[in-house]
Amino acid sequence: MWQGFPIRPDQASTIARGVDYLYYFLTAIDLFFTAVIFLTIFYFALRYRRRSEKEQPPQIEGNIPLELLWTAIPLGLVVIVFLWGTSLFIQNSRPPAAAAEIFVVGKQWMWKLQHPEGVAEINELHVPVNRPIKLTMTSEDVIHDFSVPAFRVKKDVVPGMYTTLWFEATKTGSFHLFCDQYCGTNHSLMRGEVIVMEPPEYEQWLSGGIRGESMAQAGAKLYDQLACITCHGTGKGPSLSGVYGKPVKLSDGSTVVVDDAYLRESVLYPSAKIVAGYPPLMPTFKGQVTEDQLLQLIAYIKSLSSEEGKARK
């Protein structure tokens, strides 16, 4: 049981090092103040121990400069920590534009992961090293939490909304993936591995794992099956080509940007935000499409906006 008695988790992403520096800084502050308090107490406790019951210690009312000093020092320190922690957090929250997107669906008690190329995995996530990866995540049931300690990243996976997370692995190998948000009976079994590979190996793995079609292709098939084309291809409903990422005007005068969340809402609750100039005809597809299929539909609509998608069309 002594094998592997680590003191520090693996530092396996670009984010990890920055977080660790701040962690060490905080640890240093902690140790310093703990030492100061402990040593002072020990010193006073010995130096001023009661030697006789009759003893009359001098009474000290307080000392305003001293109070201000020990208000100001912690204040200064926490301001530094706050600024440092916040700027790091902001950097860590924004996926680089070049990040490759992988989709995650949490479900009691497993992780379902889909690569845009169509490879789907369960509880295992293969990613290439040194390439930023962005995860778009949602849950089918309760709140889960996608956590990879070696990457120092973590984000709740919430039903009904998309959350995102990104990382860039710097080390090949296999790292724990945990569900960190209590999600019911087998919460502690909702674990997996993130397997970081050299790009060539990753490509090989990816091509070996293809079982048919890419996410966008699967989405296109669904698009046909659900007969979306009868409206969205005929002018009855708004055209979906080239809309992703663009603002669109709604019937109540406001505008929204067509993103994952808006597309998801429009499939499930079509009447919520209607594009200006179109009647609210669309039926709901709630119950007819799973979270995985929704992500495929979104991938397809997204592909209609990229050059390649247009060419394919």
């Binding site: 924004r94 997107e101 190329e117 930023p132 050059e307």
Partner: protein
């Protein structure tokens, strides 16, 4: 005698004002004021509540302590509502100003890049 005795006339005056304000707020709802409908309705409600608190509940004649109790309750309510709404209404904002970005590449989205490199 304990407490302040309020003349009956005051009570009836306040009562009249409350009924009038109820009539006013109801009729204002039928006038199209756009965004202002909400503001008018809530302002009138606040006025009515203030009247009730000051006169019917005798806060006008109570000690400062009672006023502090009431105000702190309202302050805490404001904290609850404002900090919660802070979350909900800033969720859709773009995460961060561009300048913060760490590793922006000029190339097209990596999704496409990834796909082309494979095909």
């Amino acid at each position: 005698m304990l407490g302040h005795i309020v003349p009956k006339k005051t009570y009836f005056l306040i009562f009249g004002a409350l009924l009038a304000l109820t009539a006013l707020t109801t009729s204002m709802a039928y006038v199209n004021l756009g965004q202002w409908n909400t503001i008018v309705a809530l302002t009138i409600a606040c006025c009515k509540a203030t009247l009730v608190v000051l006169f019917f509940m005798h806060l006008r004649w109570s000690t400062r302590l009672m006023r502090v109790v009431l105000l702190s309750a309202l302050l805490w309510l404001a904290i609850l509502i404002s900090l919660t709404t802070t979350d909900f209404f800033s969720r859709d904002w773009t995460p961060i100003p561009e300048s913060w970005e760490t590793s922006r590449l000029p190339s097209p989205p990596a999704q496409g890049e990834l796909r082309t490199s494979r095909q």
